[in-house]
């Protein structure tokens, strides 16, 4: 019992008792609060900045897509070349995601579950495609597989078409999206450590069983996350594909290339129509990404 000042004691039948005067509840002072003027200025600037640079262009895509009416929009999407472009984009994305997904799992296993010299070097090397300009990425494949390239004459002799054909586009896309999935898996697998795997192994499970029944379920959300962003990038890749594709309409034009072709062919509204599909994909990716982030407790 704390002793209050003498003045706080009031007379009572049984004697003196302490009656604490009603004190207003002290508000917890948040010393980290910024002055309101600053706070609202910053919020306003944030809205302005993001609104100008992100929201406006996004809205513009849809506005321009529908600027010539719904009929033009639908016709643009039903056009043979557009459909072929969509097909090609989907194909390339699926191959790139699967290839990089499988690689990602294998590489993450090697890097996260083991310690070895040169691990940092390996990680840096895997990160290389991030820093390479997409145009340079396309250039390297032309240098390798173009007719004048290193393997050009051999490929021509075997009648294998890489540059100016779908395989070249696939390769370039795999290159550009190479690190995406691995980078998502490694931190998580490192955090999770090896205890569960060791437990499974001590219980007699084989390596593969351990992988599929212990590791994979543990990283499934990170894997999905990586697949999502890998897919978004694969579908949207422009620079690298532009260099290796032959720009043959209906054959080697992915959606971004088709958009460029339309735009250069005076068909702005159809170009934006196809673009709106990709923009929708971006929004869907974002929604899924946010949902996954909540799951994995990120951000």
């Amino acid at each position: 019992m704390t002793l209050l000042p003498y003045s706080e004691y009031v007379p009572h039948d049984e004697g003196w008792i302490a009656m604490a005067p009603a004190r207003p509840k002290a508000r917890k002072l948040d010393v980290r609060a910024d002055p309101p003027a600053v706070k609202w200025a910053i919020i306003a600037l944030t809205f302005a900045f993001l609104g100008l640079f992100i929201v406006l262009p996004l809205i513009n895509v849809f506005a321009q897509a529908f600027s010539k009416g719904l009929e033009v929009y639908v016709a643009a999407l039903h056009d043979d070349d557009a459909l072929a472009a969509i097909k090609l984009t989907l194909l390339v994305a699926v191959v790139a995601v699967v290839a990089n997904g499988v690689f990602g799992l294998i590489a993450a296993w090697a890097i996260a579950k083991f310690d070895f010299r040169g691990k940092n070097v390996l990680i840096t090397l895997i990160d290389l495609p991030f820093s390479v300009s997409p145009v340079v990425a396309g250039l390297v494949f032309v240098l390798l597989f173009g007719l004048q390239g290193l393997f050009g004459s051999w490929l021509a002799a075997q009648d294998i078409k890489i540059i100016f054909a779908v395989p070249g586009i696939v390769l370039a896309t795999i290159f550009v999206t190479f690190p995406f999935i691995v980078r998502e898996l490694i931190p998580l697998m490192q955090e999770q450590g090896t205890e569960e795997e060791e437990a499974a192994l001590s219980l007699g499970a084989s390596g593969l069983t351990t992988f599929f029944r212990v590791t994979l379920p543990n990283v499934k959300w990170a894997l999905l996350y990586g697949v999502l962003i890998c897919n978004a990038r694969a579908m949207g890749e422009f620079g690298a594909v532009s260099v290796v594709s032959g720009h043959v309409r209906g054959v080697t034009n992915t959606m971004p290339l088709h958009i460029e072709a339309l735009y250069e062919g005076y068909q702005a509204a159809p170009a934006f129509a196809v673009a709106s599909l990709l923009a929708l994909l971006a929004l869907v990716t974002l929604v899924a990404k946010t949902a996954l982030e909540k799951r994995t407790g990120k951000g």
């Binding site: 944030t46 978004a232 974002l286």
Partner: protein, 282 residues
């Protein structure tokens, strides 16, 4: 060294090391290392003199200057405004905060060509923004200013997303202690918060810079592509490729690659520094 000692093989509990490492290295070599080596091989066909002649020619120098200069400026803008944005998203509560938070990632997810035509359309003389700016004499589309806008767009998420987790994790006791010692908010920001998030800020800046330098899709639509004025280095590479001057193209590509590798090296070093500081890997 006696054989007995040398045979101290690291016994690994988890199986599969050899296979997975082998596959990883093989796949990495096939997809990334060998193709990249092709560029250096091709450039090696040139003599040093030829290489420097190409790389220091007026048009190439200008393109490189433009690419790097504008990327730097755009990354700087993203540094400042990114800081504002991340502060608002982390420290404040206001309606629409969650949506804004999600929107920051749009430049990651949106294809560069889509961004390119959208921005061009917006800032051209007839566009929603262009039509207000042009009477003022400010031309954005088809000028270096347009390139700048596009580069700000694509670099936007980097600073925000790199700093965000660090800012969220910042111990509030530090700030409260400083406040109780009588520091103003500004002082607290400069001397408590900033030093802690500094590595993250720099990393975000470097990432935005690296991305901007190589950017192609979102820039070529809005750039004027005028040589020595608004021609970015990746475009010059494509032009040389189309002219089938492979040697020129690869020479410029080598310069860009070397710069990119240096940036990557810097970024990794920054990430390790940040890890040491805050225990969190960026």
């Amino acid at each position: 060294m006696s054989k007995a000692i040398a045979i101290r093989r690291t016994r690994r509990v988890i199986p599969g090391f050899g296979v997975t490492l082998g596959v990883t290295v093989l796949w990495l070599s096939l997809i990334v290392l060998i193709p990249l080596a092709a560029i250096f091989l091709k450039t090696a066909e040139l003599s040093i003199g030829q290489f420097f002649a190409i790389v220091t020619s007026r048009r190439v120098l200008h393109a490189l200057q433009l690419s790097f200069g504008l990327s730097f400026a755009a990354a700087a803008v993203n540094l400042v405004f990114g800081m504002l944005v991340v502060w608002a998203l982390v420290r404040y509560r206001f309606p629409g905060r969650r949506i804004l938070d999600a929107m920051v990632d749009i430049p990651f997810a949106l294809p560069t060509a889509v961004a390119g035509i959208a921005l061009t359309n917006l800032y051209a003389g007839s566009g929603w923004i262009g039509r207000h700016l042009e009477p003022l004499g400010i031309k954005v589309a088809f000028t270096p200013l347009g390139i700048f806008v596009a580069l700000v767009f694509i670099g936007l998420p980097f600073v925000v997303r790199t700093v965000q987790p660090v800012l969220e994790d910042l111990e509030k006791e530090l700030e409260e202690a400083a406040a109780s010692l009588g520091a103003s908010r500004w002082t607290i920001f400069c001397r408590v918060v900033l030093p802690s998030i500094f590595p993250a800020l720099l990393t975000g800046f470097a990432l935005a810079l690296a991305r901007a330098v190589g950017e192609y899709g979102s820039v070529i639509f809005i750039a004027g592509n005028l040589p020595n004025v608004s021609e970015i280095a990746p475009l010059l590479i494509v032009i040389r490729l189309q002219e089938f001057r492979y040697a020129d193209a690869t020479a410029i590509a080598v310069v860009m690659l070397v710069a990119a590798f240096l940036l990557l090296f810097v970024i990794n070093a920054l990430q390790r520094w940040s890890e040491a500081r805050t225990g969190r890997r960026l």
